[in-house]
């Protein structure tokens, strides 16, 4: 890496060639204030807050966009610079409603912090009094245009990062407004409510409805963890206060998603209104009644311990940790010799010995999306595909007209016409096949023609499907053969799908579940399970990366983490499968290698 030597405020600084003044200063621990700039976004130099004095330059220049060159002499807080920044701030504050006392962001606002930093203690210019609308048509967050500083961060996040291009700017000058599509309410626009704009907004213009007025960031706790809603495994932070989950934000440092999240991960889990199971339940004389963990586990151990291996069945949700799935496989398959074992979702077939990674999507010139609806089921991976389309890659969707990515595709094909897609991919320089469990056997065979040529990126349904399959839990479950069924339902939304439909009415059903449903009502024993925010462990994403999940709040009632329930049951059955989470984690990781 070529290094360039510059001088900032009399301090010698050496930074990589191509760095901007802002990046070089940051590296050297010199703070240059910014407003429109954001580390995750492409700098545009719009707000002029980051202006600095550079020797030999005609005017002040924006540090966020100016590349360094050898011998550059920079002043970041000279009187001229401070005067210019104050002018910019006075102008920004004079437009729209930037009164702090009645703003949700007060305390965490970047504009407010700049006001403090440059001691803006009264207005120099008359304030602009034109009222702007507030758009609250989206379910999860609202846009108050009166608080907007037109930095364009939201627009750039929507375009450059999510590649959704819903947001834009309309009008000119002080009348400029962020708008959606051709100026329709946000709720009726092409917005996918991923909340990326909300996360980058520096002021109170974009405001989360659920966590609004719940306190300042300094009063909250941020717990880094991995999203538990699909197989991408995005890094995120659970934000809590006083033992309550307030909101979820993307982790900018996460390798998989670099800070981006989607509606399914950021908002939906917080709006889950399903009723929790908070106590162990045991059926006594036909009635499901609360019982102690001890009694309940004893009852389960007796039935499971006495059952013949061929009568035992295991049905598992992939919304469970590596640890839980490892214990489940170990206890039932290895120790109790059960073979009637299956998953609650399908597994993508293996199409190539060499598995591609999600990062490959960014490198493809022709991208085939086959048998999976990324936009609906794994939205963050759809951002990767859409970004590639923006870059010029050709997207071919082989799934159906309803596929969420269909509007972005160069070509939409039926599974029967997969040959056409393969033919195009064969002529491409760097084709990528992104596929899911929906790929038909015939299509799978055809796609194998691209082995060695294309990168195959499997996007699994469910969450921890890759680990579950690797542990042998996808063994083909036959409901009719079951006499004693252990169903790890977890927190999976089954949309009233009756997975016990073909199970014998007389069969003994043990449900390990987080939420009450017709399935738990049918069960003979219900073991209450902690949800995503309440347990620690690890998850394997669709690429095979093992990532940590951390506990943010205490489990509801008497619920226990998924792995602990199975661990306690193993103890009751006299099987030693690991004493602590650490030990079980290590064994699971070893097994999954």
């Amino acid at each position: 890496m070529t290094m360039v030597n510059i001088n900032i405020n009399g301090q010698k600084v050496s930074a990589a060639a191509g760095s901007t003044i802002l990046k070089a200063a940051k590296q050297a621990g010199i703070d240059i204030p910014t407003l429109c700039d954001h580390p995750a976004l492409i700098p545009v130099g719009a707000c002029r807050i980051c202006v600095v004095e550079v020797k030999g330059q005609r005017t002040l220049i924006t540090a966020c966009t100016f590349p360094i060159s050898e011998g550059l002499e920079i002043q970041t807080e000279s009187p001229q610079v401070v005067k210019a920044r104050k002018l910019v701030l006075d102008l920004i504050f004079s437009e729209r409603n930037h009164y702090c006392p009645y703003c949700e962001m007060s305390g965490d606002c970047e504009l407010q912090n700049l006001g403090y930093r440059y001691s803006l203690d009264h207005f120099i210019y008359p304030t602009y009094t034109k009222p702007f609308p507030v758009d609250a048509t989206r379910k999860y967050f609202l846009m108050d245009h009166n608080r907007c500083v037109l930095c364009g961060r939201c627009e750039r996040a929507c375009g450059d990062l999510v590649a959704n291009h819903t947001l834009g700017l309309r009008n000119r000058g002080a009348n400029s407004m962020i708008h959606a599509d051709a100026n329709v309410p946000f709720g009726e626009s092409t917005c996918i409510s991923c909340g990326s704009c909300l996360q980058v907004c520096p002021t109170g213009a974009l405001c989360d409805k659920r966590s609004a007025y719940m306190g300042h960031d300094i009063q909250m706790e941020h717990i880094k963890t991995t999203c538990n809603q699909c197989s991408i495994g995005c890094g995120m932070e659970i934000v809590t206060r006083g033992g309550n989950v307030l909101k979820i934000v993307g982790d900018w440092d996460a390798a998989v998603n670099s800070g981006l999240l989607c509606k399914n991960g950021r908002f939906d889990p917080l709006y889950d209104e399903r009723q929790r199971v908070t106590r162990p339940l045991l059926r006594r004389s036909g009635k499901l009644e609360p019982a102690s963990w001890e009694e309940t586990l004893q009852a389960v151990a007796e039935r499971v311990g006495k059952a013949n291996a061929k009568d035992l069945g295991v049905l598992a949700s992939t919304y469970a940790t590596n640890e839980a799935l490892y214990l489940l496989a170990k206890l039932f398959q290895k120790e109790l010799k059960a073979t009637n074992v299956g998953l609650l979702n399908d597994v993508a077939p293996k199409l190539s010995d060499k598995q591609g990674s999600l990062a490959d999507i960014a490198l493809g010139d022709v991208i085939l999306v086959v048998g999976c609806d990324l936009l609906k089921d794994q939205p963050v991976s759809s951002f990767f595909v859409k970004r590639s389309v923006d870059r010029g890659a050709r997207l071919i969707v082989v799934d159906g007209k309803d596929n969420g990515l269909a509007p972005f595709a160069y070509m939409n094909l039926d599974m029967a016409d997969i040959g056409k897609a393969i033919e195009i991919a064969q002529r491409a320089g760097n084709p990528v096949v992104v596929y899911g469990a929906g790929v038909t056997d015939k299509a799978a065979t055809a796609l194998k023609k691209l082995q060695g040529k294309a990168s195959f990126v499997a996007i699994e349904n469910g969450v921890n499907t890759r680990a579950a399959a690797a542990l042998g839990l996808n063994n083909g479950f036959k409901p009719s053969a079951v006499k004693v069924l252990y169903a790890l339902l977890g927190e999976q939304k089954l949309d009233d799908k009756d997975v016990f439909k073909n199970v014998d009415k007389k069969a003994f059903v043990i449900a390990q579940a987080s939420f009450a449903s017709p399935l738990t009502e049918r069960a003979d024993v219900v073991l209450p399970m902690a949800i995503w925010s309440e347990r620690a462990g690890s998850l394997t994403n669709t690429e095979g990366s093992v990532q940590q999940v951390n506990k943010a709040v205490e489990p509801a009632g008497e619920a226990k983490p998924d792995w602990e329930v199975i661990s306690l049951l193993a103890d009751k059955l006299g099987k030693k499968l690991g004493a602590s989470l650490g030990e079980i984690s290590a064994r699971a990781t070893q097994e999954l290698k």
Binding site: Y99, P101, S106, G115, Y116, S119, D121, H122, P126
Partner: protein
């Protein structure tokens, strides 16, 4: 040594800044040894004395013609004028009215409010006339020190007055006492 004379008054405010001032608690006893409060909205004497004071403190925004009179009188009768609170510095909560207009705000408050029967917008000649635009005090008179905050912290009042008593005139408050909310 004669005590330094201080007068306070309020304009379109909520008295919260005065309350926050009183939150300096027992330090007020020490302050009274050095300072004479000639007048304030919470004492018998309301107007700053004709012979003048050293320090004048104003809370609240400029909302009507009466506010302008009070601000001008205070300016004429004091040597150092301090604007305290977000209303006096920026316009604050009363300035929310600017976003809908004065006529609309009066209509909503006196005619359209759900509990109103036979509403009437007050127009007694004794009352100040509402202005089209709510502003901070700095728009109508020269202000020597702005202390924003809603309300400013008690320590901010204490800091400003003790600095003045020590013969120093603060231009801006230290960061830890500088707040907008």
């Amino acid at each position: 040594m004669a005590r330094v004379k201080v007068a306070t008054d309020w304009l379109a405010g909520c008295a919260g800044c005065h309350m926050s001032f009183l939150d300096i608690d027992e330090r007020i006893v020490k302050l009274l040894e050095l300072v004479e409060f000639t007048s304030s909205p919470v004492t018998d004497l309301k107007h700053p004395p004709k012979e003048g004071v050293t320090v004048g403190i104003l809370e609240g925004a400029i909302c009507n013609t009466h506010n302008i009179e009070v601000a001008k009188q205070m300016r004429e009768r004091c040597q150092i004028l301090i604007a305290v609170g977000d209303c006096a510095t920026f316009g604050g909560v009363p300035a929310m009215r600017n976003l809908c207009g004065t006529d609309e705000a009066l209509k909503r408050a006196y005619l359209d409010t759900e509990s109103v029967v036979d509403g009437l917008i007050p127009d007694s000649p004794e009352l100040g006339k509402p202005l089209e635009m709510v502003t901070g005090v700095g728009e109508v008179v020269k202000v020597d020190l702005f202390i924003p905050g809603c309300p400013p912290r008690a320590d901010a009042f204490w800091y400003a007055l003790t600095e003045l008593l020590a013969g120093r005139v603060p231009i801006v408050l230290p960061r830890e006492l500088f707040t907008y909310d």
